[in-house]
Subunit: 141 residues, 2 copies
DNA sequence: CCGTATCCAACAGGATACTG
DNA sequence: CAGTATCCTGTTGGATACGG
């Protein structure tokens, strides 16, 4: 009865889609997909959230070591914008040398869950994508 | 018993996270989050998938009308890369004037489901984010 | 240690004009 | 209609130097 399950998923999909395309209350310029991309579609935000989720409370340079390739500047910029949106907290300890600890809020953790779903889709679909890509490229000689 | 449910979610989250951080088989440069961002983190890909999912089989200019603000060039570029990754099909009808129809593959539809989850998270979290943002800004005078 | 300030290169993507 | 081709601009983000 796989067909029935697939059918149900399709119907469910259409229902969810319809909400986003026919909601009269929603101003036209408001699009949740665009919002997501504008806020978290940059190079480092999702990686920062992922690492904070895995490591829990983390210091600045510790985090810098875990996110491979990120510059000091971009880590600061990224963390600030995530803090501004309420996805993580920043705690400064008045010590010498200074210590600053970052930690996901519950809102940040809820986004983390969504990211993980996406990551799992990516892991599971990678082979298929790579295969499609090779076929496409070979078709152009 | 909300606590129990929340606890279970947290344990589940940690389990999923651990897979991505401790998988010894995985080469270090392979990160599903980075892959997602590299492929679909651009300005138009997710919007194209979303619209194709809602409208089904769609012609080029029809799609252009639905995705507000996209240029002809970027629609072409976006659709080509999605086709290359096996997320949609492109069918050309040898007519005059020419007709080209785009349609999501089952792989594309599976990504659409993930996008919708994200979109729903965004819709549901928007108020909280806007509020956090205003508080943050007001704290800097 | 944890930033900020400044400069700069690379690239995404918009505008426009042209074609099978 | 459904694209290319070309040009051009704005933004992202890297490198480096400095500061509390």
């Amino acid at each position: 009865m796989e067909v029935t399950i697939a059918d149900n998923q399709l119907i469910d999909l259409q229902k969810k889609l319809k909400v986003f395309f026919t909601d009269e209350e929603r101003p036209h310029e408001f699009c949740p997909v665009r919002d997501i991309m504008d806020r978290f579609g940059d190079k480092w935000s999702l990686l920062a959230i992922l690492n904070l989720g895995y490591s829990g409370k983390t210091r600045f340079n510790e985090l810098k070591g875990k996110i491979e390739g990120i510059s000091q500047r971009m880590l600061t910029v990224t963390l600030r914008s995530l803090e501004r949106d309420g996805l993580l907290t920043r705690k400064i300890y008045a010590e010498v040398p200074p210590r600053v600890e970052y930690e996901l809020t519950s809102l940040g953790k809820s986004l983390l869950q969504q990211i993980l779903e996406l990551a799992q889709w990516s892991s599971g679909s990678m082979d298929e994508i790579v295969k499609a890509r090779m076929e496409y490229d070979s078709r152009l000689q």
